[in-house]
Symmetry: C2
Subunit: 234 residues, 2 copies
Amino acid sequence: MKLQLYELAGADGAVRFSPHCWKARMALAHKGLTAERIPCRFSDKDKLAFSGQDLVPVLVADDTTITDSWNIALFLEEAAPDAPSLFGGEAAQSLARFVNAYANTLIRTSLFPLIAMDIYDSIAEADRDDYREKREAFLGAPLEEVAAKRSQAVHKFRELLDPVRTLLTTQAYLSGDQPRYADYCLFGSFMWARCISNFALLDPDDSINDWRERLLDAFDGMARQAPRSTVALA
Amino acid sequence: MKLQLYELAGADGAVRFSPHCWKARMALAHKGLTAERIPCRFSDKDKLAFSGQDLVPVLVADDTTITDSWNIALFLEEAAPDAPSLFGGEAAQSLARFVNAYANTLIRTSLFPLIAMDIYDSIAEADRDDYREKREAFLGAPLEEVAAKRSQAVHKFRELLDPVRTLLTTQAYLSGDQPRYADYCLFGSFMWARCISNFALLDPDDSINDWRERLLDAFDGMARQAPRSTVALA
């Protein structure tokens, strides 16, 4: 099966920071699959026209085009049934979707203000004006102002991770004693930040650090070795 | 198997409002099991001394005593393996624990202020002074003051339900096309409120209402028919 994954890219095309693309990348690695990874900047969305929509990730598997990270996970689960399961059964798949919804609502909404300025500084010049206009309308304030308040705003993000913190007192991963797609759904949010920001999302003694470190180490350190923007490395 | 379930009770001993006891009750019903239900008011905790701790629910199954609603669910899953599964497999069990943690942290913390005064008004006279003292210390304000602000505070509770709302656009229950223990973990919070309060937790057009109604109807309307305090019925 020939695989191509279209991923959101920063000014440095090697920096791939979309949380949803990271879900797809981790899912591919979980299945032991390798895809050609094609960078796509915000202003490159023409590249995605073939998919009938303009959002990444897009996975092309031979002649099949799959959009949306959730659909990509379902496709991979079916296409590679002999590889380790992404879900661990039907009921677990339904609950993984809850974790995905948790990451896409509470976590995304509280995390975005913490890194919105760093994203701006990490994307291509050509992408910046449009990004600033749309995100400032969403945030209701200039990016600089939102960034100046992040030391306070981070407390809400950390509080919203309480379910994860509680869970990790009794098990190593959200999915049990090994990571599965539910873990990648949340981990994608952390990779979103890691690739383009050096802001400390967690307290040093937060138990979630250990979980994140284990996932950074997974698949021979794939996520740990992923290129980060100059802003992230500053 | 002879089963006894110790449940928290209000001034009217028939009113059983603990969210954790509701998890255990729904789990028993899911397994098609019936327990003798023993009321236990806050000031009746002596009744639980045999269990070596003072929290409800406590399940006694023949000669075995099980404390903590999560342990009770695990016990029932093993004790009644031929009845419908509470989890739907090992990976789903791990993720159900995440939903339980979500209910026990974000949902409980945002819901409690909305019903704290109504709980006070629904419990026995003998329980009230101790309840007020401890809960006001926790809330940092008098119960009356917390109650007066609940029309504003409810917005945070509703926002924290966003993952549920998002999930229910694509499936009927958190656990998929049928309810399982993960659903009961969250539903327990709604029963906590329903038994002792008439405050509208959800907007009338919130899709979570449909999910809640279906669970009120489950097991021949067991939850819908559960006695409610005079405060809840006012």
